[in-house]
C-alpha cells in the first residue's frame, strides 16, 4: 500500500518537527524579550524581525545583525540560538536521510509501485511464481501471445537477472514470499483480469499451498502447477481449481501412444509446432525393453508396458522388488551404468532402452555404452534440466524426455491457446485408425503444415454471424466453410473442435452455431481469410447462406417506406 510509505515518513518526522518548532520558538521569544539599543533609545525586536533573523541564522546563511547592531546581551543570546537551532536542523535532516534509506520504507515503496503497475495492466494477466528456466520460457511464450505476466520471486538477485532479459519490459515484478496470501493479493489475484497462477515449485507441498490459498482468495482463477507424486496430485485436483501437470504421467501417456497410435504424436507435434505432418509415424520397436532407473518415470513406463504385455527388464540399484517382479524375474538390482550389467540384461538382443535415472550424466553414460553394445538399439533418454540439451542431442538419443520442455510447452499452450489445448486433450484419447485418417485428410487437403485458426462467435470477431443469430436466424457451421466464389462449393478448411459452455465436439460436422461458440479450424492462408470474411461481413454471409446478393438495408427500408406511403 502506497499510503503505508507515507505514514512511515510522517510518523518518523514527528519528533524532528517538534524539535525544530520548539528550538525556533525559544530562540525567537528570547530575541524579542532581550532589549536592544538603536543608538538613541532602548528598543525590542518585533516578532517578525526575530523570526527573520533566526531563519537565516539557523539555516547558517547569516545576513548580519538587523535592524540595528546588537548589544552584548543580545549577542550572548544569539550564540545560544545558533547552537540550539543548528543542532535542531541537523537532527531533522539526519532523521529524514535515515528514513529515506530505511529498508522497510524502501520495501513499502517498491510494493506500492508493484501494486500500481499490476492494476494498470491493460490485458488479461497471469501470475508466475518463481523465476527459473521453465518460467522464463513460459513468460516468453505468453508475452508472444499478447498476455501480460506478473512475476514474483523471493530472491532479489534472480529478479535482477530477469530484468536483463529482453522480454522483461512491462512485467511487474516483486521480491516477496509467494506463499503468503498478502503477496498474492498484491499481485492482483482478486482482479477479474487475472486468469491464472503458475506455480511450478520444486517442492510440491508449496504448489498445494498456493492452490489452496488461491481457491479461497479467488476461485475463478486457475492454478497451473506441477506434481509428480500421486498424493500431491490428488490433493491438488481436490481443490477444484488446479490444473495439475505431471511430466512423468504426460510422458508415459506419450509412450503408450507411441506403442499403439503414433499418428497421434504427429498431430501433437504439429499443434505444438515442433514438426509438421509429413513426419513418418512409426511404432516403437517390438521386442525386449530395458528400463534403467525405477523412479517415478520407470514406474509410469512399467505400467504402460504391462498394459501392452511387452517383455521388459528393470535395472535399478536401490530397487525393492515386488513379489510379481521376483516371480517374473523382471528386475536386476545393479547399477545400470555398467557394461556387464547391461550385457546381463540382454542388451544385445533388446530393442529399446530407457535411460531414466535422476542423474543426467548417468543417463548420458548409459546411452553411450548401450549404443556401443547394440548400435540398432532405440534409446529413450530422460533429461532432468535443459542445461545439457546439446550433449543429449550429440549422444543421439532417439527420443528425449525433457521434464522442463514438457512443462514449458504444456503450460504455455494451456494459457495462451486454450482451444488448441482442449483439442489436443481430446485427440490423445483417440485411436490409430482415427488419427491416421485425420492426418491423411489434413495432408491431402491442406498440405503438410496447415495453419490453425480460432474463431469465437462474438460481436468483435464474428459481427455478421453474431447479429444473425441474435435476430433469430439459424446458422450452421457449414456456412463458414462455403466458398465465396461459388456458394455451392466448399473451401479447404477443416473444423477441428467446437467448444460450447464447457462441452467440446471433436471434428464437428454441421452443428448449429450459438453465440459464444469457439471453433478451431485447420486451414490455409486462403480459407482463413474466407472464414474471417464470412463471419464478419453481412453481405458475404447472406450470399453463402442463400446464394443471392443481399439488398442494401438502408435503401430497401427507404423503398419500403415509399411504397407504403404511395398506398
Amino acid at each position: 500500500m502506497r499510503d503505508q510509505a507515507l505514514w512511515i515518513i510522517l510518523q518518523r518526522l514527528r519528533t524532528p518537527l517538534i524539535v525544530i518548532i520548539v528550538t525556533y520558538s525559544i530562540a525567537i521569544l528570547g530575541m524579542v524579550l532581550i532589549p536592544g539599543w538603536d543608538g538613541e533609545k532602548v528598543y525590542h525586536l518585533s516578532f517578525f524581525d526575530a523570526f527573520y533573523f533566526i531563519s537565516y541564522t539557523a539555516s547558517t546563511i547569516g545576513f548580519g545583525e538587523t535592524p540595528y547592531e546588537f548589544t552584548y546581551e543580545q549577542r550572548m543570546w544569539v550564540l545560544v540560538c545558533i547552537y540550539l537551532t543548528v543542532i535542531g536542523w541537523f537532527y531533522a535532516i539526519g532523521a529524514l536521510v535515515n528514513i529515506m534509506s530505511d529498508k522497510v520504507l524502501k520495501q513499502e515503496l517498491a510494493k506500492g509501485g508493484f501494486r500500481k503497475r499490476v492494476r494498470g495492466l491493460k490485458s488479461d494477466f497471469i501470475i508466475i511464481l518463481g523465476y527459473n528456466y521453465v518460467n522464463s520460457q513460459i513468460i516468453n511464450k505468453l508475452r508472444d501471445a499478447g498476455l501480460d505476466v506478473v512475476l514474483i520471486d523471493h530472491n532479489e538477485e534472480r529478479l535482477n537477472l530477469f530484468q536483463l532479459e529482453e522480454f522483461s519490459t512491462g512485467v511487474p515484478i516483486a521480491v516477496a514470499d509467494a506463499l503468503l496470501s498478502n503477496t498474492l493479493v498484491d499481485a492482483g489475484i482478486h482482479l477479474p483480469s487475472c486468469r491464472a497462477v503458475v506455480s511450478h515449485f520444486y517442492k510440491e507441498d508449496k504448489n498445494l499451498r498456493i492452490a489452496v490459498l488461491t481457491r479461497f482468495l479467488n476461485p475463478n482463477v486457475t492454478v497451473i502447477s506441477k506434481a509428480t507424486l500421486r498424493d500431491t496430485m490428488t490433493s491438488l485436483v481436490d481443490t477444484d481449481i488446479a490444473k495439475v501437470e505431471n511430466p512423468f504421467e504426460i510422458f508415459a501417456k506419450r509412450f503408450d501412444i507411441a506403442l499403439s497410435a503414433p499418428h497421434l504424436l504427429i498431430l501433437e507435434n504439429w499443434i505444438y509446432k515442433n514438426a509438421d505432418l509429413s513426419d513418418k509415424a512409426s511404432f516403437l520397436p517390438e521386442g525386449r525393453y530395458i528400463i534403467c532407473g525405477f523412479g517415478r518415470l520407470g514406474k509410469a513406463i512399467k505400467e504402460k508396458l504391462d498394459k501392452h504385455g511387452m517383455d521388459y527388464i528393470i535395472i535399478d540399484e536401490k530397487l525393492i522388488p515386488s513379489r510379481e517382479m521376483i516371480e517374473n524375474e523382471t528386475f536386476l538390482k545393479a547399477n545400470a551404468d555398467d557394461r556387464d550389467v547391461l550385457l546381463e540384461a540382454g542388451i544385445e538382443s533388446a530393442s529399446v532402452l530407457i535411460a531414466g535415472t535422476q542423474n543426467d550424466i548417468d543417463n548420458i553414460s548409459i546411452l553411450i555404452t548401450a549404443k556401443k553394445l547394440n548400435p540398432n538399439l532405440y534409446v529413450i533418454a530422460r533429461e532432468n534440466t535443459m542445461k545439457e540439451e546439446s550433449v543429449f542431442r550429440a549422444a543421439k538419443a532417439n527420443w528425449l524426455f525433457m521434464i522442463e520442455r514438457i512443462l514449458i510447452n504444456k503450460t504455455s499452450l494451456q494459457l495462451s491457446q486454450p482451444l488448441k489445448h482442449s483439442f489436443l486433450k481430446k485427440v490423445l484419447y483417440q485411436n490409430e485408425v482415427w488419427s491416421t485418417s485425420l492426418v491423411n485428410l489434413l495432408k491431402s487437403q491442406l498440405g503438410s503444415n496447415p495453419k490453425l485458426l480460432n474463431l469465437t462467435i462474438n460481436e468483435e470477431r464474428a459481427y455478421a454471424i453474431y447479429h444473425s443469430i441474435k435476430d433469430g436466424e439459424s446458422i450452421s457451421l457449414n456456412v463458414l466453410l462455403k466458398s465465396l466464389e461459388d456458394w455451392k462449393t466448399y473451401h479447404k478448411a477443416i473444423p477441428l473442435l467446437l467448444k460450447r459452455n464447457g462441452y467440446e465436439f471433436l471434428l464437428p460436422k454441421d452443428e448449429l452455431l450459438e453465440i459464444g461458440d469457439q471453433i478451431l479450424f485447420a486451414c490455409d492462408e486462403e480459407s482463413r481469410t474466407e472464414i474471417e470474411i464470412i463471419a464478419s461481413n453481412i453481405y458475404d454471409l447472406h450470399y453463402v447462406c442463400c446464394g443471392e446478393e443481399k439488398q442494401n438495408w438502408l435503401l430497401s427500408k427507404f423503398f419500403d417506406k415509399i411504397k407504403k406511403f404511395k398506398k
Binding site: 510518523q11 518526522l13 514527528r14 518548532i21 520558538s25 516578532f47
Partner: protein, 126 residues
Amino acid sequence: MNLQKVISGFFFILAMTLNFGFFYGDMGNYELHSVYELFGALVVSLISTALKIGDKTQIGSVLLSTSLVADLQLIAAVIVWTLVEHINSPISASNMAVIVSLSGGAFLANITSVVLYIGETLKSKR
C-alpha cells in the same frame, strides 16, 4: 496513566486556552491583545499539529485536519499583524478586528479538536 496521552492532551488544551486568552477582549482595542500570547498560541498549535501527524485512525485524521485549520488561521493572523505593524503603524481598530477574528476562527477549530479528543478518550476502554 499513559504519558503520551498526557503530553498530547496538554498541548491540545494549551493551544485552545492560549488562543482564548488572545481572543478574549474588545475586538478593536490594540491594548487588550498581547502579541506574546498570539506567538505562544501559534507555537503550541504547531506542536500539537506535529503530535497529531502520523495517526492512521479515522479520529486521528479529523484531529489533524482541525489542527491544520487552526494553524492556517493563526499564521494568517500573524502575517496580517506583521504587515500592518511594519507598513502602516500604528495599528487601527479595524486591522486589529481582522487579526482577532482570525484567531477566533482558530479558536473554534481548537474547540472542535479538544471535543473530539475528549470524546475519543471517554470512548476508550483503557
